[in-house]
Amino acid sequence: MNVWLRCLLMMSGASVAFPATAQQPASPDGSWPMAPLNYANTRYSPLDQIRGDNIANLRVEFTFSTGINRGQEAAPIVVGDSMYIVTPWPNVVYALDLSRPGAPTKWKYEPKPLPAAQGVACCDVVNRGAVFWQGKVIFNTLDGRTIALDANTGKPLWDVKLADINKGETVTMAPMVVKGKVLVGNSGGEFGVRGWLVALNADTGKQAWKAYSTGPDQDVLIGPSFHPFYASDRGKDLGMTTWPPEAWKIGGGTVWGWISYDPELDLIYYGTANPGPWNAEQRPGDNKWAAGIFARDPDDGQARWFYQFNPHDVFDYDAVNESLLVDMTIDGKRRKVLVRPERNGFVYVMDRATGQVLSADPFGTVNSIERIDLSTGRPHWNPDKQPATGKVVREVCPAAPGAKDWNPSAFSNRTGLVYIPHNNLCMDWQTSEVNYIAGTPYLGAEARFYGGPGGNRGALTAWNPSARKMAWQVKEDLPLYSGALATAGDVVFYGTMDGWFKAVDARTGKPLWQFKTDSGIIGQPVSYRGPDGRQYIAVLSGIGGWPGAIVVANLDTRDATAGGGWGGVLSDLKDKTSAGGTLYVFALPK
């Protein structure tokens, strides 16, 4: 705290108080135990050996082939002398021994998920990483199992089946462990599944509670302790009554993104994905509790508050992005807030105790929503961009993958900036009536995406949540689909879909260093302190994910709707990268 305050005063002489990470600066030991590093989801590494003045010497220390050439979205997990990696389907887990030269494999575990699960995975067969908890490595498989392995031996301790692929359910998210409970949510919002989050006992795998995202209050775990801030979220069984009869049973609201936890308020925060089907005319109503954020008690799962970013979502604007928990001074008052760069293109700053939206400002090009009404909390949808069956709505910004998709941002304690890796895409969108057939896509909309204003399809935006404006931006040709990493050396790392791994100055965005990996990067860079005391940077390279399916699934881009709309805008991707699946680890020379 003192460090950044002094920094700021030196720099500007201002007396505005700065945002700071809410929780303890996680992992002072230099480990990276969960995909977002810490419960606050800030991805801010306290390690500072790698700085602007020495980064020119940063070089590859070792590499490791995962053997799976599909989209590598996972964060490498590092605890002690070991690194743990989960591959895309077939979800092989590797433990690497960091204490030995070249980091040889300690053990390997093959969960053998069902091959057919690939057919109900909307956006490549990705996995976003494991979590380390008390000697266990816990991860999810595409066919919907959660498995705990002994971190030393790789032997399975428990293995539970949570999802059913015949209903279109898969699991792709990185699990989180809060107070001894493993939190796992499903994917399948494009298949008419019913979203849920479950809590499993980390020692046994036994289910403690399950909270659905639609349906009666009893199923959603809404009870007397539920106090949403806005009136439109109050009422009995809104998870049923804001849908046509029975539609909530196939209404989506899956939980495939990030989970945050505030130990002081003792609340977990997570978002719910798009309502289904994409054709919104088939589901009149607000479609609660899809496309919003829940705050829940981790012990019993009971909801405390909810806020809906996109009531009656019409453009597949999932609300599963990360909530960065920070403390900020707003109007002279220190507040516990969460900062959310949303898929709909707005950065929300919310009071995380109450669910009140304190501000919502666009960080990308947005014309589908005119503004967010802070008195009601509701977005004002642009009437000119409202879809109707059979009509093509043109130039809708952001496109369905959002101004920002799942790929997580980072927050630096030293600069007070949020580093948002994101898209700059607009689209044409046409809806049509769709039939629900279990296990098949439930969409009813087709899209053609294209680059937004400026022509750059992606950007890294440094956002100042106090000033509510952009600090700087690096434009990228391709959509930016990797996570961001901020370090105490004032360096921000990210990767591009054509395979460049880049470092920029955290204060100015000035390019500092880059390295070309063998395939496009859509993963989550991490930083850890190795057994030799040096700071390392690690990232998985391997094109894939929703946009990268163009390459790994060999789509035909003569069809502009290929890959759900990416065909036209990424017709050059096969020329710019090829499939891969390699871990790269960088360090300064000894």
Binding site: Q118, T440, E446, V552, L555
Partner: protein, 174 residues
Amino acid sequence: MAALAMSACERERRAFHSAPEGTHPRPALTDFQPGSAMTQGVSDTGLAYERNAYHINQGSRWYRAFNCNGCHGNGGGSIGPALMDDQWRYGGNIDQIHASIVDGRPNGMPAWRGKITDMQAWQLSAYVRALSGNVSKAAAPSRRDAITSTPPLTQLPRQSTDAGDASAQQPPPQ
């Protein structure tokens, strides 16, 4: 004159209500055989469907009604492979396509056996052939019900169906 009239009528001889007569083909998935290869023909049933404009057009309706477009796009592919290109994991003649639809395939293609009629499966197969330019231009539907995303099917270049698909994933050893 008679021959001319008959060939002109060829397209119009439609069978609306029942599948054309024929035995169920059992197509092989490969042309590779021990010794000298035996020629594998396409069934008369399959040929009758893929030459018939009505059946191809019905197939285009089922393609959307059964959510095939959700996985295969308008031919470019998405969750499932592209159908308008020249790479075929499980064979690209109509008998092989019909078998893939009815039997399913292990990496995510559901088995539609018992869920749709055999006639619907054949009509879908005929439409899938049209997506890669492998039906007569006279029989291919010239317009689609979807947002414009590809050249019209009557204008698509014919793609070879001889090649396999290098991007196919094999299930891990059990």
